[in-house]
Symmetry: C2
């Protein structure tokens, strides 16, 4: 049914090898033969069968991507970046979503391994050992995570936290909270460590508020604890958490930024749409995806495992309406005693 190289060869009056060579290395074929073959191939709409090709070359012309949740806007953008670069390089892209079951991610990588030339893995929560094991077996590039010297694209989390805390301190905040993400998340660890060390440097009064699911619901859950903490400003693990905070704070009648300043991380598109709009540390998400593909393709084309090839992308605080000077002494809870609160 599909047209094969044999059909083209027959039509052009040459052998299959010549057809193959014409398409792969045109300079090794006489111009007039080349023209005949190209004409025949075009007339028949010939496309080399990728299965047959990869069977002999060992290459698939496909890359893989594994993410915890396609609907999380962070991963959506990474996916877009990966797709874009892969497509530009002439590679197809296999996508798999673990639905936040980090234990399943290794299996997804294994499943797609024989169909791809390499895989971009976003697995914030799987254990180092599992990831190191995978990297031993397959060609991997990690996004937003470091494990040993597996090739990886990361962002400068510490600098993001630094920018956020400097901003808050400049506004006059003294007591600043960090609403954490999942305990086992790599970037949460990075951000928490930076919060501690840079907060201390800046002589801030720090409050650490546990671990929350990195979604809007997590922020909603964290908000009341935050209010009770007496902090006048908060840095959330990510924007979704921050958006949940904003929502619950509004319900509770806590004004942002007058009573409480809120900073997120990622600068997802929604951050600009709330009122007040969310101040956030812009993370180059799409660029992370693109860079990951570049790293992967470099390896695929060199044909070697280039351990230690990593890239740390820079971030930039984007200031919007959710941060401002603290209204008075004391935290939100002080100015909003129980009676006033709209629970």
């Amino acid at each position: 049914m599909a047209v094969s190289a044999r059909d083209v060869a027959r039509m052009a009056g040459v052998s299959v090898s010549t057809v193959s060579r014409t398409l792969a290395r045109p300079d090794q074929v006489a111009p007039e033969t080349r023209d005949k073959v190209v004409a025949a191939a075009r007339a028949l709409g010939y496309r080399a069968n990728p299965a047959a090709r990869s069977l002999i070359t060992g290459q698939t012309g496909t890359l893989g991507l594994v993410v915890p949740d396609l609907e999380n806007p962070y991963f959506t953008s990474v996916t877009k970046g990966v797709q874009k670069r892969a497509q530009a390089a002439g590679y197809a892209l296999l996508v798999a979503d673990s639905d936040e079951h980090s234990g399943q991610e290794a299996e997804l990588v294994r499943n797609m391994a024989s169909r791809v030339d390499g895989t971009v893995l976003c697995s914030p929560r799987a254990s180092d050992d599992v990831i190191a094991g995978l990297a031993q077996e397959f060609r991997l590039v990690l996004v937003n995570r470091r494990v040993g010297d597996i090739p990886a694209i990361t962002v400068d989390n510490a600098d993001g936290v630094r920018q956020a805390l400097h901003h808050l301190r400049a506004l006059g905040h003294g007591r600043v909270a960090y609403v954490g993400g999942p305990r086992d998340s790599w970037s949460h660890g990075e951000r928490l460590a930076a919060f501690r060390s840079i907060g201390a440097e800046l002589d801030l009064d720090l409050v650490e508020l546990g671990n929350f699911r990195p979604y809007v619901s997590g922020g909603v859950a964290a908000a009341d604890i935050l209010i009770a903490s007496g902090a006048t400003a908060v840095l959330a693990y990510n924007d979704l958490l921050a958006l949940g905070l904003l929502e619950r704070l509004r319900q509770r009648g806590v004004r942002v930024p007058e009573d409480l300043s809120v900073v997120g991380v990622d600068n997802v598109p929604v951050a600009a749409l709330t009122s007040p709009a969310l101040t956030s540390v812009e993370v180059p998400r799409m660029e992370s995806g693109r860079a990951a593909v570049d790293l992967l393709l470099a390896e695929v084309r060199e044909g070697v495992h280039t351990a230690g090839a990593t890239q740390d992308l820079s971030v930039q605080l984007v200031v919007r309406g959710s941060t401002g000077t603290p209204a008075a002494a004391g935290g939100a809870a002080v100015r909003h005693p129980a009676g006033v609160v709209t629970t």
Copy 2:
């Protein structure tokens, strides 16, 4: 490097055919032989080479998905649904994004055609002819679009518009605007037609406001025209447009819903996060993706082109804060003369 059936055969002391049969049709193999083979396969970590398999079977075990923009939350959810169902059925998923170049979508389908058993195509704006041509050549299922009797998953757009208009009319609105999406978008056409016919049925004073890009920026661009139109309520082509309207209305000092009620379509996750939260027609996006895969797999497994297999999913208006009773006679423009506006 990779372990092949030969390695397993050697280890188990059988022929390659037996290895293949053990994995494909275990009942045709003697139990003890089967055990030896399974043990050897497990010990070596054998996985059949998908390229070799698809070369002979003509099946790839992979499905394709083409969307205009992965970052558009509508398509993000469809993608998630498609991925989920494909994975559950043991299929891998190739994803391609046309970056809103609808002319490129046919080429993307063609490119992946030989790597997949079938493709889910989301192409709201390509011409009917192009799509019909593709369907002739390849196994396709359309999402959110009908072309001839190509298998397709759609939603009941007319009913969505009906629910929205009934809601607005019940609140007491008389002059209602529709802010349109792209002229060549199939669902825009459906929604506009429904707006006209149902609006007339309900005896509403209808205003049609041109075509806008289906993003937040389109809504921002449409807002001023909307204000000038004198409508007290608006139905937007989709939520992103509606969110753009909300943003610009806020800037202009037009209160929602007191001065203007706003309804979107899709009920994307962000819709719940704005203030006021957006009233929107919930569209089962993920379910659309799932249903599309079901249709596709039915065809793949039957091995025939089942023309005319379609499914029309139902929708449900979700009422939130962005709709309410009109404050007084006259449109927003009347109550907000130029002097008051915060441009």
